[in-house]
Subunit: 358 residues, 2 copies
DNA sequence: ACCGATATTGGGAACGTTCCCAATACAAGT
DNA sequence: ACTTGTATTGGGAACGTTCCCAATATCGGT
C-alpha cells in the first residue's frame, strides 16, 4: 500500500500514465513568467493591445520555454469562440462537393477556423443527427449543402442565432445567406452554344428537382431559353436521387429514336454527365456522332472522353471559399437581410457539341 | 441603426440578442427531474447501469421536456473524451482521399465520433500548423495521409500518447499503425495482366517517391515483377509532386519513340492516370492503338475513355473505414506493437490493355 | 437488533479558459 | 495637494461537464 500524504488533494491519475505528461496551461505560463493568468489570456485573445511591451516579451518567452498551446475546448466553453465551423453535405463523393470543400477548407485555414465535416449520404435522418452533433460542439457557424428536407431543424438553429450559409441551393422557409451559381447565366450560356452549333432538339436530364432550387432553376431557364431560341426542349427527371442506369438507358433510347432533327443532351450537373456518358457508351457505338452532349460542371476527365465533352464550368472552389467568407461576416456580426451571392459560369467548348452533318 | 453594437457592455450581450435563449444544462435537467446533476451525467456517460429504472425514466422525461443536449466541449474539458478525430490529408481533391474520407466519415458516424478534416495541399508547413490546431482541440486520435516530412511533429504527438493511424503510406521512424493497399499483390496483378496480354515493354510513371512507402513499394515490385516476367521495365519519376504536362509529354514521347516491341504504361495512381491520359491525348491521334495503359486506382470515368482504361482497383472506402476502426481500437486502449493492415486489389480489365497486332 | 455488504444517489471540486470588476500606477488638470 | 483620467495588471467567479468520495437505503446473515 502506498503511504500517501494525508493532504486532501490526491494526485490526478492521468499524470501517472506513461507519456501522458500534463500539458502546460495558461496558469503554468503565468507562473513561469511571474505574471497573472489574465494577462496570458489577453495575449491569446483579441486584447493584445492592452499589454505592455515587456509583458508581451515575457509571455512569449514563457510560452516558448513551456511549449504552451491554448486549449480550444476550454476557451470555447467560457468564451463564445470555438473556432469550429460545421459543414453538412449531401454527398461527399460528388466532385462538386469535393471542390467546394477544398475552397472552404482554405478559407477556414486562413481565418483560424476548423471544419467539422458531416456527410449525410442523402439521408434526411442522418442530416438531423449531424445537426444535433454539431450543435453539441457549439459550432460558430454552419455551411449546408443538402436536399433541404429538414427545414424545421435548420430553421430552429437559424432562429437560435446560429450563422448559416447555404451552398448551391436555396431552401424555402430558411432566412439565410446563400452562395451559388448564377444558373440563369450558366444555362443560357449552354443553350445558346448549342443553338449556335446548330442543334435543334434539346433534352435536359436531371435528378428529381424536389424542392431543390438550383435544379428547379436550371430546368426552368432551360425550358425558357430553348423556347426563346426556337428549339424543341424536353426535360427528363430521374425518379430517384440515385440514377438508375436502366431508367436512363430507356429514357435516352426513347428520345434518340424519336429524333429527326439533330439533338443534344444537356446534363444538369456532373453526376448526370457521368451517368449519361455511361449510358450512351452502352447504347451507341459512336455516341457523339449521333448526339451532342453538354454538361453543367467541369470534370477532370471531360477532355478525354470521345472528342471531349463540352461543359459549362462553375467556379466551385470560389463558391466554397465565398461561402466561408460570407459565414465569417455573419459570425462577426454583419447585420442585414439574407443575401444571395452568385458566381458566373464559363463555357468549355469541346467536340461533343460539334454537329456532324451526316 | 441596430441596437446591438460590439464592445464594452455591462449586460452579457448574448443573453439579450434575440433567439439566444440560454441552452439547458445538465443542471436544468436535474432540477426539472428533481434529482442531482451527477445522475444526469451518468445517464449520458457510460454508467447508465448504475441508475435505477425510475431514475432513467425521470431523466428521459426531463430531457425530452427541455430539449437538452449535452455540451461536448465541457464534457471534453473535464473528461478525456472529446469525440473528435483529426484527419490530415495531403490533397483533399485526390479521388483516393475523397473515397477514403467517405469511408472514414461513415465509421466515425457509426461510433459517435466527428471528423476534423485538415487539408495540407502538400505543404509540410501547413501540415505542422494543422497538427498544432488539432492538438488544441484535444482530438482523441489522428488519421494521417501526407508526405511524412514532419516525422518529428508526428512522433512527438505519438509519444505523448496520441493514438494515430497512417493511411496508404508508412512513415519511417513513426511507431504507428498503418492501413493501406497490398502493393505487392496489386502491382503483381497489374504486371501479370500486361504480360498475359502480350506487352513486352513496360513503363511506370509516378510522382517522386521521396520517402513515401507506397510509391517506393509499387516501383520496386513493378521492377521485380517485370523482370521476373521477362519484360523490359522502365520507371519515370516526375521531378515535382505536381505533374508538369510538358515533362510528361516529353518523357512519354521519348519512351514511345524508343519502341519496337509492344509497350504499355503503368500509372502508379489515379492522379498519374489522369495526367497520362491527358498527355497521350495531346500526343497521339489514337493513343490506345499504339500503347497499352493500366492505372492503379479505379476512377469513375475509366470505362469511358477510349476503349476503357484497365485499372487495378483498391477498396479505398474500406481502407478509410478500416483506418478509423483501427484507430478506435487504440483509443479504447488496445495494447501491442504497431500493426499493418493491407487490403487486396481487384483487376478491371478493359480495352486499354488489349494489344492491337498491327 | 446489529454489522457489513451492495446497490444507488448526491455534493462538491476539478478541467483550462474568458470575462467582469477592482486595484494599482503614473501623468495631467485644477 | 487633490481630484480625474488613462493606461495596465490581477483576482476570482463563471462556463457545463466528469470524477472522487461520502451518504443513504436496502438486504441478508448472525
Amino acid at each position: 500500500m502506498t503511504a500517501s500524504t494525508p493532504g486532501h488533494r490526491s494526485e490526478p491519475t492521468h499524470r501517472l500514465e506513461p507519456g501522458h505528461a500534463r500539458r502546460p496551461t495558461i496558469h503554468d505560463v503565468a507562473r513561469d513568467a511571474g505574471i497573472s493568468k489574465t494577462s496570458v489570456s489577453r495575449y491569446f485573445g483579441h486584447e493584445r493591445a492592452l499589454l505592455s511591451e515587456s509583458m508581451v516579451q515575457r509571455i512569449e518567452a514563457a510560452i516558448e520555454r513551456l511549449g504552451f498551446a491554448p486549449d480550444r475546448l476550454a476557451s470555447g466553453l467560457r468564451g463564445r469562440r470555438t473556432g469550429l465551423i460545421g459543414m453538412v453535405v449531401a454527398d461527399i463523393r460528388n466532385p462538386y462537393t469535393v471542390d467546394m470543400l477544398h475552397g472552404a477548407e482554405l478559407a477556414c485555414r486562413e481565418h483560424g477556423y476548423s471544419l467539422l465535416v458531416c456527410n449525410t449520404d442523402n439521408s434526411d435522418q442522418l442530416e438531423r443527427r449531424h445537426l444535433e452533433v454539431l450543435h453539441g460542439y457549439s459550432i460558430e457557424g454552419l455551411v449546408v449543402n443538402t436536399r433541404g428536407r429538414n427545414v424545421a431543424s435548420l430553421a430552429a438553429r437559424r432562429e437560435a442565432g446560429l450563422p448559416m450559409v447555404l451552398v448551391d441551393r436555396h431552401i424555402d422557409g430558411l432566412d439565410c445567406d446563400m452562395v451559388g451559381l448564377d444558373n440563369e447565366q450558366a444555362v443560357t450560356l449552354g443553350v445558346s452554344h448549342l443553338r449556335d452549333q446548330g442543334y435543334q432538339r434539346l433534352l435536359m436530364v436531371t435528378e428529381p428537382t424536389d424542392g431543390i432550387s438550383s435544379r428547379k432553376a436550371r430546368v426552368e431557364v432551360f425550358r425558357h431559353q430553348a423556347h426563346a431560341a426556337g428549339l424543341s426542349a424536353e426535360v427528363q427527371q430521374s425518379p430517384q436521387e440515385r440514377i438508375d442506369p436502366d431508367w436512363l438507358a430507356a429514357t435516352l433510347m426513347q428520345w434518340l429514336r424519336a429524333g429527326g432533327r439533330p439533338g443534344a443532351i444537356v446534363c444538369a450537373n456532373g453526376v448526370i454527365t457521368l451517368a449519361v456518358c455511361h449510358a450512351l457508351w452502352a447504347l451507341l457505338k459512336t455516341p457523339f456522332e449521333q448526339v451532342g452532349v453538354l454538361g453543367i460542371d467541369e470534370l477532370s476527365w471531360c477532355a478525354l472522353v470521345g472528342p471531349g465533352i463540352t461543359t459549362v464550368a462553375q467556379p466551385v472552389d470560389d463558391i466554397g471559399y465565398g461561402a466561408i467568407t460570407t459565414l465569417l461576416n455573419r459570425i462577426r456580426g454583419a447585420p442585414g437581410k439574407a443575401e444571395i451571392t452568385t458566381y458566373t459560369a464559363r463555357l468549355h467548348a469541346r467536340g461533343s457539341t460539334t454537329l456532324k452533318t451526316t
